[in-house]
Amino acid sequence: MYLVSAACYVIGLHMMRTPKTARNGNRVSAVGMIIAVIMTFLIVINKHEATMTGSIVLAAGLILGLAYGTIRARTVEMTDMPQLVSLFNAVGGGAAAAIGTFDYLSLTAGSHISFAFSFPVALDLVIGGVTFSGSLIATGKLAGNISGKPISFPGAKLLNAIVVIVIVAAVVLTIGFPVNAWWLVLTLVASLIFGILMTIPIGGADMPVVVSLLNAFTGLAVAMAGFVIDNQALIIAGALVGAAGTILTLQMAAAMNRSVMNIIAGGFGTGDSNSAAAD
């Protein structure tokens, strides 16, 4: 049962509401995470299904990832923290998208799949892909590798519209038709491009709000990945972060006297949104 770890997340988040208990709240939630991981290993060991190479791959990925994450988090300058959070957000979305890809590709090509499976897979890929590339762009902007100013170019709106249409078409193909790896690739690539297009015109003080929004997206992607592999720990935590992140985004935007729509839409060309508001 993942119930204990789920309870730890909720209690942890709750404790983070006041500065006094915030640090312990984070620890409670970390304990919940450790419990979830240990339980997963117990489940896997009980099943006796693990392959040798799979275990090696798992161990290598875990050790490298844990080491890299911990070292980066420990050594980062305080002023560089926002982009690091954004980077961690990107890898979370990427991992969720990878789960969807894995499960979709493990089906035999040409066979029909149930709506209950293909729908979360498609959503997982779209949301995960958008967050992955979007957060990477946000990281680059915060770190100064990409210009922090809003970047807009002629035809950006048209390009956005085309990419959205491609995503919708690819999702319909993925959901409504028999398994075909190319539709999955198309969905993923179009989502990655949309993530870049969405984030690149946003700049300056709006960045934290966007990072928070992408954070909420990752939560949803993780929840969808939970539906795909039928794992309730992912569904609970993902939905929790999705909802909490959405509220947080709204509050952060409200603290700056801006609406979220304003920030996202404002990116599509500052001049355009001003004239639209005048109308």
């Binding site: 997340y9 909720v10 988040l13 709750h14 509401r17 006041t18 500065p19 915030a22 984070n26 939630s29 991981v37 997963t40 290993f41 190479t53 799979g54 275990s55 791959v57 798992l58 990925g61 875990l62 990832g65 844990l66 994450g69 988090a73 420990r74 980062v76 305080m78 923290m81 959070v85 980077l87 961690f88 979370g92 990427g94 969720a96 990878a98 789960i99 894995f102 493990s106 209950a116 934290p208 539906f227 794992n231 309730q232 720990a233 992912l234 609970i236 935590a237 993902g238 939905a239 929790l240 972060v241 999705g242 909802a243 909490a244 992140g245 509220i247 947080l248 509050q251 952060m252 603290a255």
Partner: protein, 106 residues
């Protein structure tokens, strides 16, 4: 629709409601750590990646699984450590107030 799917959807909806409730009104100084904390929680995706990694049976799947596990474990370890550092940093100036209050209570 299967029974399992119903259960999962119910869990999903209830978790969203809990998420909305738990972060209703928080001070704006805590926005960034809260975001970072939530970011660490969705590192739970590592659980999913562990499960798929052990199902892999060919090179393509090993590669995807490795990427998934690697990314997810960065998310989970880095997320918690960075949140902890963040909270450690800005609880320091507050500490004097807290200690005064604690002392007063005793």
């Amino acid at each position: 629709m299967s029974q399992e799917l119903y259960t999962n959807i119910a869990i999903f909806v209830l978790s969203i409601l809990v998420g909305f409730e738990v972060i209703s009104k928080i001070p704006s100084t805590l926005h960034t750590p809260m975001m970072s904390g939530a970011n660490a929680i969705h590192g739970v995706v590592v659980v999913g990646t562990i499960l798929i990694a052990l199902e892999a049976h060919s090179v393509l799947f090993y590669v995807i699984a490795f990427i998934a596990v690697f990314l997810a474990s960065i998310n989970v370890s880095g997320g918690y450590v960075v949140t902890d550092r963040m909270l450690q940093m800005f609880s320091k100036p507050k500490k004097t107030d807290d200690q005064k209050q604690d002392g007063g209570d005793k």
